[in-house]
């Protein structure tokens, strides 16, 4: 016990190994066992959410928590590399300014209030329904129009294809919204 304890003393180790006090003899337990925090993490195959190059990303996660986001070396597009934005993806998802709660602003109010997500969803559905009811035009000059111009949508270029598909399907195909747009032009 005592010799073991003593051997942890750098000076003793230095004498034992003949080192000069800059090598393993002075390394702490932490240094000896140093390893990447991605050890033992699960990996999801992903794609960088910033620009249109589509760099491959590996998302390391443990216990439902993100550990690190790195380039995917197998990607024939990016070969594991990332630009400063892509390299900052972990911070993008974990930074403290990310909102995690629904915020509601009442008409004429000067501040936000809290709102339950399900309540917010009901309220939004009500607003959509009411505005649509009021503005929907079924025909014009005796011809089918089936349109509302009172509700608009803007978004898309950073949303998933599947998200865009549902947006277009519900908003245009279901509700008759024509004012649907996004950043993409040509």
């Amino acid at each position: 016990m005592l010799p073991k304890l003593l051997s942890r003393w750098p000076l003793v180790r230095q004498i034992q190994t003949g080192g000069d006090g800059t090598g393993p003899e002075v390394m702490t337990e932490r240094t000896h066992t140093l390893g990447p925090r991605t050890n033992g993490a699960q990996v999801a195959r992903s794609v960088c959410p910033y620009c249109g190059v589509g760099c491959g990303q590996l998302i390391f996660h443990k216990d439902n928590k993100l550990v690190s986001i790195e380039g995917d070396p197998e990607s024939p597009i990016s070969r594991g590399r990332l630009c400063p934005k892509g390299a900052d993806s972990f911070e993008l998802l974990t930074h403290p300014h990310r909102e995690l709660k629904v915020k509601y602003r009442r008409p004429f109010s000067t501040d936000w209030e809290d709102l339950d997500l399900e309540v917010a969803m009901d309220m939004i559905a009500d607003r959509v329904w009411k505005s649509r009811e009021k503005s929907f035009v079924e025909t014009q000059d005796g011809q089918s129009l089936m349109q509302t111009k009172a509700i608009g949508h803007l978004g898309g270029a950073t949303l998933d294809n599947e998200e865009n598909y549902l947006i277009k399907k519900l908003f245009t195909g279901g509700l008759g919204m024509v004012c649907v747009s996004n950043q993409a032009r040509i």
């Binding site: 750098p10 006090g21 800059t22 090598g23 393993p24 002075v26 390394m27 702490t28 932490r30 240094t31 140093l34 390893g35 990447p36 925090r37 050890n39 690190s68 986001i69 790195e70 380039g71 990016s78 594991g80 590399r81 990332l82 630009c83 400063p84 934005k85 892509g86 390299a87 900052d88 972990f90 911070e91």
Partner: protein, 260 residues
């Protein structure tokens, strides 16, 4: 495990700063302040306790018709990513009185955060101005050469992210050779001012972070003759010993004189 190194080839650097960010992400280092410097696009300014990779921007005169890849002029906008050199004879390592700084098996000069007491001897001993004390935290910090990753055989975060392979990571001797070949290749392309920065013949006795640059390394803040302060120690001790001897002699003489 082989001796590893970086070769930062500034002729391939596009100044994107992915290395800075990838380093900070992996090592979870805080920002360096939100100060606009006005020095080209360089707002982190230098390597320090919270910036372990730093891209330097150098602006030269511009001529219509010539891009930075032409040999006819210095690049109008040069970039180079600076980092700890992990010297063979490392000033910081020599100066550290607590055994906090160690040499890893692959050659990295590593500050053990669980030992460092912030005495800052290393800070003044680095010929490149790399190590810096974090005044809030009280300890000194610098590039770890991603020792945690290297222990698992992974490349350092900066080298992995670098989009253009400007930062190469690998075996030191192989990279030395690669750097020489690259200079020859650039020569053949009409670029005659490329040099390898590898101060082997100074007291640092070589580094583990080689650079390939166009023009004078000083424009990228790289000293032409970096010296380890301890190289002056012998001279210093000798002078001190002589001085002490002289003083001792003078004192003795004084006493002897008294007796007379």
């Amino acid at each position: 495990m082989s001796t590893t190194a970086f070769l930062t080839d500034s002729t391939l650097c596009i100044g994107c700063k992915a290395c800075e960010v990838a380093c900070k992400e992996w090592n979870q280092i805080s920002e360096d302040g939100y100060e606009w410097s006005g020095h080209s696009y360089d707002n982190t300014q230098a390597v320090g306790h919270s910036t372990w990779r730093h891209v330097k921007f150098v602006e030269n005169p511009v001529e219509i018709g010539l891009g930075g890849n032409s040999g006819e002029q210095l690049p109008a906008w040069g970039f180079s990513s600076d980092v700890c050199k992990h010297c063979e004879v490392a000033g910081c390592l020599e100066a550290c009185p607590t055994g906090a700084i160690v040499r890893m098996e692959f050659g990295a000069v590593f500050v053990q955060p669980d030992v460092c007491n912030g005495c800052s001897y290393c800070v003044v001993s680095c010929p490149f101005g790399v190590v810096q004390k974090n005044e809030e935290d009280g300890r000194a910090f610098k590039c770890t050469f991603c020792s945690d990753r290297q222990k698992a055989g992974l490349a350092p975060a900066c080298a992995k992210a670098c989009p253009t392979e400007s930062i190469k990571f690998g075996n030191l001797e192989e990279l030395r050779l690669e750097a020489q070949l690259r200079v020859k290749e650039l020569e053949a392309r009409g670029i005659h001012d490329a040099v390898v920065y590898d101060p082997l013949d100074t007291s640092v006795k070589g580094i583990h972070a080689l650079f390939l640059l166009r023009g004078d390394p000083r424009s990228y803040n790289l000293p032409p003759h970096p010296e380890v302060p301890t190289t002056y120690m012998k001279k210093g001790w000798t002078s001190a010993a002589i001085a002490a001897g002289v003083m001792l002699g003078a004192t003795l003489l004084a006493f002897l004189g008294e007796r007379r």
